[in-house]
């Protein structure tokens, strides 16, 4: 019976595996290989061993990009988690008027392509006609080019990313809240828990699987951030102070014609994203194991 199941399992999995291999595994392996080559995209790749990785270590653009990625990550992750949790708790409350409409509004940023999100924010923050600067002027302040100003640009990248992504985190937390066992919550009320204690000691531990998904997916999202920065900074030439690893890959390919070097950076980024995915999968399996 067991052998039969295994045979069927492999037969049924074959079509999916073929697609997975062609569109996911092969490109990743090929990128990994190209990272060890010097390649301009047109002529034959030349194997150069670890040369690209050595270059990377001495490349100021690489370190600026890593620093920016980390800075965005550190600010973005707690904020998007807290915002998502806050919105979810609010929208889960039946006392909130028009909560279905609000749920739709919260999701708006998530359903819009990031390039559109970028354009919306560009219009909002335009120094001459943007509504943000108009409001600032009404209150006696001076308009500024917030997105272009090197001292504020990165914060608006984070704000734009939050706006776009918090719909996802809200949805995941909402799903988690909807799935909570009502009897457990009622029991905590009977036991005399106040709202804060109910949240801290009952709801939050039960939301752990949702929290893991939110943290992992948000980390992956923000590590790969590119399109929003690309649009907000006017496209093509992102200033160095805003460069992130995903942009650096683009720059090395399309401006420097260093596809091999770009592949090495892409490999590094893939490994970072992969580590987060592994963490999530491991914890989810553990959770399932505990439940079973």
């Amino acid at each position: 019976m067991g052998r039969r199941v295994n045979k069927d399992f492999f037969i049924l999995m074959t079509p999916a595996f073929i697609l997975l291999f062609i569109f996911i595994i092969y490109p990743i392996l090929n990128t990994f290989y190209l990272g060890f080559t010097k390649w301009d995209g047109f002529t034959n790749p030349q194997f150069v061993g670890l040369e690209n990785y050595k270059t990377m270590m001495n490349d100021p653009l690489f370190w600026t990009s890593v620093k920016n990625n980390l800075f965005i990550f550190i600010i973005f992750l707690p904020l998007v988690t807290l915002l998502g949790l806050g919105f979810a708790l609010l929208l889960h409350n039946k006392a909130v008027v028009g909560r279905n409409v609000l749920r739709g509004l919260v999701m708006l940023g998530m359903v819009m392509p990031l390039t559109v999100v970028g354009i919306v924010w560009m219009l909002l923050l335009d120094p001459y006609s943007g509504i943000v600067n108009k409001i600032i002027e009404i209150f006696g302040g001076q308009p500024r080019a917030w997105i272009q100003d090197p001292s504020t640009a990165i914060y608006f990248i984070i704000i734009g990313s939050l706006w776009a992504w918090q719909g996802f985190t809200t949805t995941v937390f909402l799903a988690g809240l909807e799935g909570l066992d009502v009897e457990v919550l009622e029991a905590s009320v009977i036991d005399g828990a106040n709202p804060w204690q109910r949240f801290r000691y009952v709801i939050l531990p039960l939301l752990k699987p949702a929290l893991i998904v939110v943290v992992t997916m948000s980390s992956i999202y923000i590590l790969k951030v590119f399109d929003l920065i690309y649009v907000l900074s006017g496209g093509e030439s992102i200033p160095m102070y805003l460069s992130v690893l995903a942009y650096m890959i683009y720059y090395e390919i399309f401006y420097m014609l260093k596809w091999g070097y770009a592949a090495a950076i892409a490999t590094l980024l893939t490994v970072a994203v992969f580590l987060f995915s592994i963490g999530m999968l491991k914890r989810m399996i553990e959770e399932r194991g505990v439940e079973a």
């Binding site: 049924l12 079509p15 120094p127 080019a145 030439s237 420097m256």
Partner: protein
């Protein structure tokens, strides 16, 4: 498990595998360069009688310019009933062209590119069809200074079909008249004009800084006025350093103008999109704007009249001991080595490079012809004035378009940093020199 389900899974696997194999084979066939033979030629007499060829042209001309281009293409289609031209506006032209060339089977026949350094590089990498036959068809008729940047050895990998120039500062005539101002001829006069306009609450100059590339045009104009065309060309080839005293002086002049408020509040100026400044110039919200000849067409489309509502002056003199020069560039056509319809593309390229097509475009305004056979009578008065200036003064190629392609965005970004922090000009010059050493070496 039911036998049917397993059969289905097996069949699906087989189907996927065969589809992939078939795809690979057809891809290989498509990427194998085909030698042009009379039978395979899309424009061979036998085929032209039977088949319509669709030539795909990639470009980034949109708006009025794109419409004018489509109008010109209709003329070619009328004269060549078996050829249809599909013009595809690629907002990310560089990405599209490079990606498709890298696949070995590009989906376009012709691309119109504004980057001569990239064209030469791609040609040298064997990705482009040599266009000597097109150049030879118009010997001595095409502007030499636009042919040179796309030539490697004796091979031309691109042909200019459009010229543009950055002749100077466009100004709003009414703003100057209403404030009893004369267009500035020297740097000191420019600074005085700035002070007067500022005191009247009018932004003296616009820059289009948010798009970054216009800043290199302003910098080049100042550089030429400081050290003449020789300094400009030497810096382009990195024969002088970015920390050369004359280059640093150019940075300092810009820094002073910015700090004086000639470009408005720097915190706002860095958010100016270039296209939006054209309308502001027309309305008189800003008095002057250093920009290329193409805004002549844009201003006229907005209903403003040249000579009446707006006019043009050369960038004010800084060093009286150096010659004046105009920065000019162009858009070049390329044909990929593996273009799907190479013969038809070559025929169309010949038409693009010739006076017939370019006259149609010139008559629609805002377009300068690299083919010198286009009569001057075809030009609008302002465009004709620019052509006269180009004949009178030295013409130099655009600096940032002709540096190693990776260095171009570095220049734009460093100048943008200058706009954001004008006090930092010495450090910016040093950083540009450090970057230049790396890019010119590689």
């Amino acid at each position: 498990m039911k036998r049917g389900v397993r059969k289905f899974a097996l069949l699906l696997s087989l189907f996927l595998l065969s589809a992939i194999v078939a795809g690979c084979i057809s891809q290989k066939e498509a990427t194998t360069p085909t030698s042009p033979s009379p039978t395979s030629s899309p424009t061979s007499p036998t085929q032209t009688q039977q088949k319509t060829v669709e030539v795909i042209v990639y470009g980034q001309w949109g708006g009025v310019e794109g419409q004018n281009f489509q109008n010109a293409l209709k003329q070619y289609e009328k004269e060549h009933p078996n050829v249809k031209i599909k013009y595809v506006i690629q907002s990310k032209l560089r990405d599209a062209v490079l990606t498709e060339l890298a696949t070995g089977s590009p989906g376009f026949d012709i691309a119109i590119l504004p980057w001569p350094a990239l064209i030469k590089e791609l040609g040298e990498k064997g990705q482009l069809e040599p266009l000597n036959s097109v150049v030879d068809a118009y010997k001595g008729e095409i502007m030499e200074n636009l042919l040179e940047p796309v030539k490697s050895g004796n091979t031309y990998y691109g042909v200019p079909i459009k010229a543009w120039a950055k002749p100077g500062i466009w100004y709003n005539v009414h703003v100057f008249k209403n404030n009893n101002l004369e267009p500035p001829k020297t740097l000191d006069e420019l600074k005085q004009v700035c002070d007067v306009l500022k005191s009247k609450g009018i932004q003296p100059m616009a820059s289009g800084a948010a798009d970054k590339w216009p800043l290199s045009d302003i910098f080049e104009a100042v550089l030429i006025r400081v050290g003449g065309p020789e300094l400009h060309q030497k810096l382009m080839k990195h024969e002088v350093k970015w920390t050369d005293p004359q280059v640093v002086e150019a940075f300092k002049i810009l820094s002073d103008l910015l700090k004086q408020g000639c470009y408005g509040d720097p915190k706002v100026a860095i958010g100016e999109k270039w296209e939006a400044q054209v309308a502001r110039l027309g309305k008189g919200e800003v008095a002057m704007y250093f920009m290329g000849n193409w805004i002549n067409l844009m201003l006229q489309k907005e209903g403003y009249k040249p000579g009446v509502d707006y006019d043009l002056i050369p960038f004010p003199e800084i060093n009286p001991n150096v010659d004046f020069a105009i920065v000019a560039g162009g858009d070049w056509i390329i044909i990929p080595k593996n273009a799907p319809h190479k013969e038809a593309a070559l025929e169309l390229a010949k038409w693009f490079a010739g006076p017939e097509y370019q006259k149609i475009m010139v008559e629609q305004k805002g377009y300068l012809a690299p083919n010198l056979k286009v009569p001057k009578s075809a030009y609008d008065p302002v465009d004709a004035k620019i052509i006269d200036m180009m004949a009178k003064y030295t013409v130099v190629p655009d600096l940032d378009d002709n540096v190693p392609s990776g260095f171009q965005p570095v220049i734009w970004n460093k100048l943008f940093e200058l706009w954001a922090n004008p006090d930092n000009y010495k450090q910016i010059a040093q950083e540009l020199e450090q970057a230049a050493q790396q890019y010119y070496k590689s």
